[in-house]
Symmetry: C2
Subunit: 212 residues, 2 copies
């Protein structure tokens, strides 16, 4: 038996809590739902809920869908001849063109974005995630380019990449919330990425180009 009864029950309980919370949050807003209500909806006590989730905000953010390694992974997986910035730009364009669920380009995500924008603590979480992503990316860039320890160029480049990455996500959230159609959003965001690429320097766009 690879998984005992106890662990299975724990997973079920955790998911039950998470689903109940998300349902209540999108229906009535993050602030207008108390922890006690979530616990009651999940048929658990408040203490049990806090055994599974450290804080109320943790009930919302799925830790597996948004990894702090996202940018670092994209850059690590880039093609020969491709730079770090272009790899991220390309990945974003791919995801936009495919309307991938990962970027939240789905009609059902509207209330979720609205809820998150209304709760400052949730947006703070997202920003912290972005910071972790750029930090990890800076480490990868420093390692792959063999930059000197005091050289801040990797941090600066990573900062620019992290900036337009979160710019795209923020724009998606705002537009989904405004009721725009995913296809229209994708098109607008692709144009925005073109503007971004035009305003980035050759130095930034070519940094850490993988040898062919």
């Amino acid at each position: 038996m690879s998984e005992g009864l106890r662990e299975r029950k724990k997973r079920q309980t955790r998911q039950r809590i998470s689903e109940a919370a998300l349902g209540l949050f999108v229906a009535r807003g993050f602030d207008r739902v108390t922890i006690a209500e979530v616990a009651a909806a999940a048929e658990v006590s408040v203490n049990t809920l806090y055994n599974y989730f450290e804080a109320k905000e943790d009930l919302v953010l799925p830790p597996d869908e948004a990894s702090p390694q996202r940018l670092a992974d994209i850059v690590r997986a880039r093609q020969p001849g491709e730079s770090a910035a272009r790899a991220v730009l390309g990945r974003l364009r791919d995801e936009l063109r495919r309307h991938e669920r990962k970027v939240g380009l789905t009609a059902g995500f509207g209330p979720v974005f609205a809820m998150m924008r209304a709760a400052p603590t949730l947006t703070a979480r997202l920003e912290d995630l972005g910071r972790q992503m750029t930090d990890a990316l800076a480490a990868v860039l420093a390692e792959e380019t063999g930059a000197a320890p005091g050289d801040r160029t990797p941090c600066v480049i990573a900062g620019q990449i992290g900036w337009f990455h979160s710019l795209v996500y923020g724009e998606i959230g705002r537009r989904i919330e405004a009721g725009e159609q995913p296809a229209a959003i994708a098109e607008a965001l692709l144009e925005l990425l073109d503007v971004v690429e035009e305003t980035l320097s050759e130095r930034a766009l070519g940094y850490a180009t993988r040898e062919a």
Copy 2:
């Protein structure tokens, strides 16, 4: 009488609360001081304290020292022949060279930064302020360049400027907190700004150049 007794007392009370709060916060940490303690130290009731400040975080951030219009003002005041990005870069370099209090380059600011970094709600405030600054800057850029309504270039340029602006401030906070000397910090930050300028494109650096 330009200022009645009432308004003067209000200002005094407000300042007394603010000073008491800051003193307690830097001494024992933001989280380990209760509102009741601040009120007691300022010799006011808890209710009065909430009449002056909406939330606990408001006790820390002086709304006049950090204006949402800061970036917009800098750009509006730029010299003929100077672009938006270079105006902000120049202003940052000036402030760094003069070790101005405005940028927090003072020895006594160390505990303050440490306290703010330890309290997520405070950093969230700062980030929101940064967002307001870039939004205002984008509006100024759009107006001065006469960009078409659908043109996102002003937003992108403003985003890049806002990015390195907050980069400098964040770095100051981290280094002051680490105990580095203001002079050393200023030097390091000036070098960082050089790296930033090298990695920005000519397009971004020259955007919205004021006619001579």
